[in-house]
Amino acid sequence: MTEEQKPPLLLELEQVTKSFGGLTVADRLDLHVDEGEIVSLIGPNGAGKTTVFNLVTGLYRPDSGAIRFVGRDLVGLPPHKITQLGIARTFQTLRLFLNMTVKENVMAAAYGHTRATVPEAIFRLPRARREEREIAALAEEKLAFFGQRLAGYRHEQQAYNLSYANRRRLEIARAMATNPRLLLLDEPAAGMNPAETLELTELIGRLRSEGGYTVLVIEHDMHVVEGISDRVVALDHGVKIAEGAFEEVATDPRVIEAYLGLQGAA
């Protein structure tokens, strides 16, 4: 970047448009995330928040516009390539590998940055053995991030055994195992009780301070948004309606209107 003070630009969406038939879910959207930031994406249901994630991770291809990650164009790349470049996400609807163990869930996500081939694995050649050790250590390290929640005997439990909150944590651990620079968290606090939500707020802060990740998070819980965000972006009908610090966005009449309708704004 030209200004020396500014941290480097990590993710940048420029005039991104995506529509399904007549429904425009992203309309000339501009969005950027700087390295080391925690940015929240808010908006009422159907505002196009998850669509932004799907566009960034390559599940959707934008109709027009550019998506760049550290200066590299992401449009047209398959999702696994985008993840290998350093963007990992969680799913709002939870898409764990249910019939695999907790540890295997995390280990599986290390696929993108390991290289051992099938013959190497079959004959247990040195590189395969070394990578296996590294993957196991990596999984344990990522799971340890959640303290006692995903520790000990839970490593060998099948993922379907976990409680709802723990499944959300496991999704984050799995995303971390892809060694990303940018984490996209899709409603990480959904379905959590107030105590767990508080714990999550603290966790997202630690993701940046200890993990070194940049975080873009979709969240409905305004306490979480207030607690974690450097910057808040509000969407409605695929259009960015407000951007800035939490207080500014939360009091923006257009945001209140989007959430509550015209009556609320009046």
Partner: protein
Amino acid sequence: MQTGGDIPEVPGRPDERDRPRVGVDEWVASVEGRREDRVGFARLGRRIDALLPPWARLLIFGVFAATLPLWMDRGDLFAYGIFTLIYILLGLGLNVVVGYAGLLDLGYVALFGFGAYFYALLSSEHYGIHWPSAVSIPVVVVSTALLGLVLGIPSRRLLGDYLAIVTLFFGQAFVVFVNAANPTVRGKGLTGGPNGIADIDPNDLFGYELTTRRQQYWFILGVVLLVLIGLHFLSESRTGRAWRALREDPLAAEAMSMPVNRLKLKAFAFGAGIAGLAGCIFAAVLTAVTSGNFALPILITIYAVVILGGIGSLTGVVIGAIVINVSFQFLAPENPQDNARILFYAVVILLLVLAVRPWWMLGVVLGGVVVFGFAAHAIAEAIDPSWTAGAVVEGGRLAGVISDWVIIPAGHERFANVAYITLIVAVLALTRIHGWWRTILLVPTLYLTAIVWETSFVEQPAVARWILFGALLVTLMTVRPQGLLGTPRVEIV
């Protein structure tokens, strides 16, 4: 015990917070496991999987299998030993595609056939080509893997049932091609049409031809053990985990940095390679191949091996292959009918053991059936001796008991039909009534089952074989839907 019914407080445990509690979804998820634990032998299966480490299981299987030829005669070694090993190999290949990657491939048997035919072309009198196994087997395995890759291409776009239909078509097309197309190459039908290809060379170990059954058996056992070890390592590698991940959720796998399409093709090619290897061995052992060897029934049997053993489990495939091939060969038409009879009564008793609770009730029912039988027999004989004058078909060890217990009239064709229809009515009635009446009706129904078996099925061994085989599968799969050593698959809604 405390007085007055007040319950002593359970001392708090350090891990109290993490223990499953009633109403928590974790508790719900563990219900299935605990229900299963109550069924005795299913629990044993879980224990085998949990307590014995993989190498110990491999050692037990290896030692047992290696000593088989020392006490088995040649014919049995061929039917029980070699065929079981070939089924294991086929099951292992299919397990990669279906069990790991979750791709429903119904064309698998054609890859097995392709391997067998290709080996036959490379090492037989058909074209006078006699490549040594050290050359022909690798060539066949690699070619079959490539064919599997081609067959896998539709899997990039098709899922589930749609993939099954496309691959099934491929399997059928292979049989038709081999049988009917039979293109002329070098003045000779390529596949030999309905006659197939004969005079295939045996496998050889660097020039040493394996001609006796024992040598062949040990050779195949060695191959199976190597494949098992390799697959175990592969399953615990990044590729194995990625296959299972894409089986669970392809979209999440793709988003978690796994190239799903390439992994699917890899699974197809890898499974196909193993099928090709099995084909080489099969052709060499049989010394002849025809298209009938690779038709739908074989495919179903391979699927039965994998599903019965527990999809995704290597130990399961081995046990599934043993159970299926041994029971199938045990029931072979050339074996005495008594085999089928013993298995039949064993299946009936097994079903009762599983279905009737509590234990003393089982005793009442079994005792009741025995007493009921002898009483009915005595009454029938007293009324008219010709009612019980029929001969027991190939009675074998049980002949004496059966002729005193089951009513077999002298000329019994009509009697058999009536008994058969009555049995169907009785079974239907059993499903409609409950409680004591059911137990009481169960006794004559079981006796009727014995009559139907002794008067109808015993006389049609070929039919009885398939019915019994089916009954065995249905029974086992009802008891353990996830297969003998499989883990129950859970979907969360």
